[in-house]
């Protein structure tokens, strides 16, 4: 099982621009909220910018990316906002007779109904299937307009996490961790001989021996430090 691909963060790894814009025209600049980024005419607005009175304004603190005619900001910090189809790692925080409440790192806890749970359980037997405090690998099924979400454990590789470790990283750094078409992540898995499953909410499940886990942790730490150095103006 070691190193095997059980569940893949497919909506992340397959994205061509997962590591950020690859265009040569890329222009980077550090910006603060409210900063004027030029005329909005002829530009498409990406993440972290809005148009006010025909001018583009930054709404976040981070690096500005110009990719073709799309202007976006790679923020320094972000909160995870769930989207349907996201593979996430959550902790069960509570339950009722037929529902689990799962902390997926978003502003609101997600719900996992028993009908979407891992196995059949009697009414009132939720804790015997997944107990409070346990970690699960699940997928976001639905997100309401009001940000409350439903997760499911029906699907290939979705399971309760019984071994290994769960680590955190800022969600906007996932693109760098995964790399172009998943190259960097594949390399990390091979080097560490660990099974690494990346959740879109910035949580990673690392399953392997001690040294491998340590290697992955060091990589995460260096990635965070690197990102900080970039936003601190070290490397533009």
């Amino acid at each position: 099982m070691k190193g095997g691909l059980v569940a893949r963060a497919d909506n992340m790894t397959e994205k061509k621009n997962a590591a950020g814009p690859q265009d040569n025209q890329r222009d980077t600049q550090l910006v603060a909220p409210g900063e004027d980024l030029g005329e909005s005419k002829g530009h498409e607005l990406g993440h972290g910018v809005i148009a006010i009175d025909g001018r583009i304004r930054a709404t976040k603190n981070g690096r500005m990316n110009v990719n073709g005619n799309t202007i976006s900001i790679e923020p320094r910090r972000t909160a995870y906002v769930p989207r349907p189809g996201d593979l996430v790692i959550g902790y069960v925080e509570g339950c009722t007779n037929n529902i689990w409440f799962v902390d997926i790192g978003a502003p609101f806890n997600a719900i996992l109904p028993m009908s979407l749970g891992p196995s059949k359980a009697d009414f009132g037997g939720t804790r015997s299937v997944i107990d409070i405090g346990e970690a699960i690998l699940c997928r976001v099924q639905e997100v309401e307009e009001t940000h409350s979400s439903v997760v499911t454990m029906k699907g290939m590789g979705l399971r309760k996490i019984r071994s290994g470790a769960v680590e955190n990283i800022d969600p906007h750094l996932l693109g760098r961790l995964i790399g172009k078409q998943g190259k960097a992540l594949r390399q990390l898995k091979e080097e560490s001989e660990c099974r690494v499953i990346v959740g879109d909410n910035g949580r990673l499940w690392i399953d392997g021996d001690f040294n491998g886990t340590l290697e992955v942790r060091n990589r995460l730490r260096s990635l965070t430090a690197e990102a900080k150095a970039v936003t601190l103006g070290g490397v533009a």
Binding site: L30, P33, G34, T59, K60, G62, R76, R77, H147, L232
Partner: protein
């Protein structure tokens, strides 16, 4: 001796701390001082020392404070008991309630709350050392901390207070000037648009004096905005 009788500015226009009428006290900003918070900022402004920490967006509790179409800002301005020479009784009082409310209302005009319905963003402002103008320092520090936390905002809010001492309008009052001066005009400015998010006034100013204080505040806000932006880009100001 009553108010206005204490001599705080000399014939050459030099104030009791050596500043000229339009000068602002020295400012330093440091980000990320509270590692467990989502965003934080420590701002020293003269002898004022303020820490602002941001938590969230998170589920709003109790449920009655939730808004279905936007997030709510839960601002708590608090002065530490040791922040002034007279010990302040811990806990909320009338003044801190008022400042929390006006700070929240000023920040609501820039934070894009509609992106996080039913949520709450906690803004904690703790005054470690108070000289004068702590509401201005608190508001400015909170807006920088919100930007540091990655909360989407259309602008920063920079707040400065000008006032009148011995019939002279001066910028950024210090403690003596605040206590014995004739008027005080704290303002919260959105530096990129030049709009106003917050305005209070204590004492009397003629229309001309008001205009002068307004101009001082606007100019100072633009300068301080530059410091805030530099801090956001590099992690601290000055380097």
């Amino acid at each position: 001796m009553g108010y206005g009788d204490v001599q705080m500015i000399d014939a050459n226009g030099i104030r009791n701390d050596g500043r000229k009428a339009g000068d602002v006290r020295p400012i330093s900003i440091e980000l990320g001082v509270v590692p467990v918070a989502d965003g934080s900022c420590r701002m020293k402004w003269g002898a004022n020392d303020v820490i602002a920490a941001i938590y969230g967006p998170m589920e709003a509790h109790p449920r009655k404070i939730q808004r279905q179409d936007r997030a709510v800002l839960d601002v708590r301005y608090n002065m530490a008991p040791f922040s002034t020479s007279d010990r302040i009784r811990p806990g909320f009082n009338r003044r801190s309630r008022e400042i929390s409310k006006v700070t929240a209302e000023a920040l609501e005009s820039v934070v894009m709350l509609e992106l996080y319905p039913r949520s709450k963003i906690r803004v904690e402002i703790e005054i470690i050392c108070a000289e004068a103008g702590t509401r201005c320092v608190g508001l400015t520090a909170a807006s920088v901390a919100l930007a540091h936390a990655g909360i989407p905002m259309t602008d920063l809010v920079v707040s400065v207070a000008s006032g009148k001492i011995n019939d002279v309008v001066v910028c950024d009052l210090n403690k003596a000037e605040d206590n014995y001066g004739e008027a005080d005009l704290p303002m919260g400015v959105l530096p990129n648009s030049g709009e106003l998010a917050f305005l209070q006034m204590d004492g009397d100013l003629s229309p001309e004096e008001f205009q002068e204080a307004w101009d001082y505040n606007m100019n100072a806000a633009m300068v301080i905005h530059g410091y805030c932006v530099e801090a956001l880009k590099t992690g601290r100001y000055p380097q």
